[in-house]
């Protein structure tokens, strides 16, 4: 987690270091992309937070590590062949969206997954639909499109191995990765 935070801080400082036409780095976990509508000043000031004092940004990022915070929920689970967000995860999604709104330089990657049942390529599409559903809710709640990224691994990266209901319920998920 600490490593990841450092990466984000580093990324945002790089973002500030870049000109307004900063390039998107494809494939990296942390996306470096210029945020539309954001001025160089804004980028610079946020990087001052992250790079200069280091403290404010770290404090705000620490909310991510607070086990009492709804932000500590990093996995949204789904029903079989469904991409509907279950009511028990609304809180967490609202908290993450608010966090994104408060931290416009932070980028959230949403990784969609499926259980092993049925066909692999359909499951790849299903994983994407789950990730996109979560992303849409974040956008509705005010997060910026440039702060969100979706990717699907389908059934290719299970967290649990095996062939029973428990395992499947753990694998049907969207992981929220900062």
């Amino acid at each position: 987690m600490i490593k990841r935070l450092l990466l984000i801080i580093l990324a945002s400082s790089l973002l500030a270091a870049c000109s307004a036409t900063g390039k998107k780095d494809e494939g990296a976990t942390v996306e470096q992309r210029n945020i539309p509508g954001q001025t160089d000043d804004a980028a610079a000031s946020s990087s001052a937070q992250a790079y200069g004092t280091g403290f404010d940004a770290a404090t705000s990022m620490l909310a991510l590590d607070d086990p009492q915070s709804p932000l500590s929920v990093r996995i949204i689970y789904f029903d079989y062949d469904s991409s509907t967000v279950l009511p028990q995860f609304r809180n967490a999604i609202e908290a993450h969206a608010a966090f994104l709104v408060a931290n416009p330089n932070v980028i959230l990657s949403m990784e969609g997954h499926a259980d092993e049942r049925g066909s692999r390529e359909y499951n790849l599409a299903l994983g994407e639909r789950r990730a996109i559903t979560v992303k849409r809710q974040m956008l509705l709640l005010g997060a910026s499109a440039s702060q969100t990224r979706t990717i699907s691994y389908g059934e290719e990266r299970p967290v649990e191995e095996g062939h029973d209901e428990y395992v499947w319920s753990q694998n049907r998920r969207v992981e929220l990765i900062y």
Binding site: E26, G27, A28, T29, D81, E116, R117, G118, S119, R120, E121, Y122, L124, A125, L126, E128, R129, I132, T150, I151, S152, Y153, G154, E156, R157, E161, H163
Partner: protein
């Protein structure tokens, strides 16, 4: 209806034919064969250099091929009444007494150039006539392939269908490393698991291998750039080209029968749709337009239409659409989960995954009658792939530790498993006939 009846009668037979065959890293188990398999005796081939052992026991490879098909009952070597290697040496009376109908004899000769000449004859014991006789020159490295070609000829002469033993399969192998990470390997091998060749290794998932119609290239999906991308790799040179890496998913490549286009699934325009990628010009042609998931394209043999999976009706079902576009027609109506279609080579049927009551089986859809026949009885089966002669369907099935490969005949009578000794093996793709 006929198909269904055949299937049921196939189920009631308990004739359990077990052939354990230790190969390099694979074990082939025939769970069930046909009711009246063809009797055949394959006599160990003669060998010109009596002072040394032959480089390959050709008769053993042929015996294994034919047994594996489930349609033959090759005689055990210790039961052979005599071991002729020439036609003149055959004592027909001995074989007829045992009720043996077909006899295969042959010879392996070392040539002056250091290569080999393989001669074999297939003989109808009752008529006392030769059904087929060939001489096949081979280098040492080609000998195993020559044995598969002999099996192909025997299969064709006695069953009436071109054999598919001399073909390759590709599959994804997953090795779990000690530090809990995984290694994904794209591999090809003979259909009996021998001669494995690693085509690609990655720490990120690999998916959806698909053979080009000429057997020279394989298209696949790799996550090496932390997102799905479609690659085409030349098998001989190992050269590969990234052909699709758009935002969103890039998946399910399927070659057009003429090899000029790939049908694939891209979600770059918002949700998964089927596109055609013209390989020479790299231009894309969009085939489907729907807010639902459209994926898993399969080409009809004449290249005119494509079948695919879509959940536009609320659950995944199979649809068919012309490659020029137009309104897709729904093909499956039985059950709430039908996915991953593969047209048979003759276009008369389609293999697919049929989900019912928590079970996922390989099923065959008769395209004329619309009748669906379930072919497998295991729990989580996926990725059906037809042999190029249409006689067998290879697929992946889940086992305790992961997944392994299995095959079933299209009439549901012959079942076999290919148990690899290490790693998890999935997504088999059966390659085309070798080019002449």
């Amino acid at each position: 209806m006929l198909l269904k009846r055949k299937f049921i009668s196939g189920l009631t037979i308990t004739a359990l034919l077990l052939v354990f065959y230790a190969a390099q890293a694979i074990e082939i188990i025939i769970d069930k064969g046909v009711e009246n398999p063809i009797q055949v005796a394959i006599v160990p081939f003669g060998w010109s250099q009596t002072a040394t052992l032959p480089p390959l026991d050709l008769a053993a490879v042929v015996t294994s091929d034919l047994a594996r098909s489930g349609r033959f009952a090759p005689m055990q070597e210790q039961d052979l009444p005599q071991r002729p290697t020439r036609y003149q040496q055959i004592n027909f009376k001995d074989w007829r007494l045992l009720g043996m109908e077909n006899l295969v004899i042959g010879q392996l000769k070392l040539t002056e150039r250091g290569d080999y000449d393989v001669e074999f004859r297939l003989i109808d014991v009752y008529k006392g006539e030769q059904i087929a006789g060939f001489r096949i020159p081979s280098s040492e490295i080609q000998l195993r392939r020559t044995a598969h070609r002999i099996s192909d000829i025997i299969f064709e002469k006695l069953i009436g269908i071109r054999g598919a033993f001399d073909t390759r399969i590709a599959y994804i192998k997953v090795m779990k490393l000690k530090n809990q990470t995984k290694r994904f390997i794209l591999q090809s091998a003979d259909t009996d698991g021998f001669n494995p060749q690693i085509l690609l290794e990655s720490s990120e998932p690999l998916m959806s291998p698909a053979w080009s119609p000429d057997g020279k290239s394989i298209a696949y999906v790799s996550f090496e750039n932390r997102n799905s991308a479609v690659y085409v790799q030349n098998i001989l040179t190992g050269n590969r080209v990234k052909v699709a890496a758009h935002p969103g998913i890039n998946s399910a490549p399927a070659w057009s029968p003429d090899g000029t286009r790939l049908a694939l699934t891209l979600s770059k325009d918002g949700n998964p749709e089927i596109y055609l990628l013209h390989l020479a010009s790299r231009t894309l042609q969009r085939i489907t337009t729907n807010r639902a998931i459209d994926t898993e394209p399969s080409w009809f043999h004449n290249g005119d239409k494509i079948a695919f999976t879509s959940d536009r009706g609320g659950s995944p079902q199979i649809y068919e659409v012309s490659v020029t576009g137009g309104q897709p027609q729904r093909l499956t109506f039985d059950g709430t989960y039908n996915a991953r279609p593969r047209y048979s080579p003759d276009g008369k049927s389609m293999a697919l995954i049929h989900g019912k009551n928590g079970f996922y089986h390989i099923a065959l859809l008769d395209l004329q009658s619309g009748y669906l026949t379930v072919l497998t009885q295991t729990r989580l089966d996926e990725s059906p792939s037809f042999a190029p002669n249409g006689s067998m369907i290879m697929y992946a099935t889940s086992v305790y530790k992961g997944s392994e490969l299995a095959a079933v005949s299209t009439d549901g009578r012959v079942h076999q498993r290919l148990a690899f000794q290490d790693g998890e093996v999935r997504e088999p793709a059966w390659g085309p006939f070798p080019s002449p």
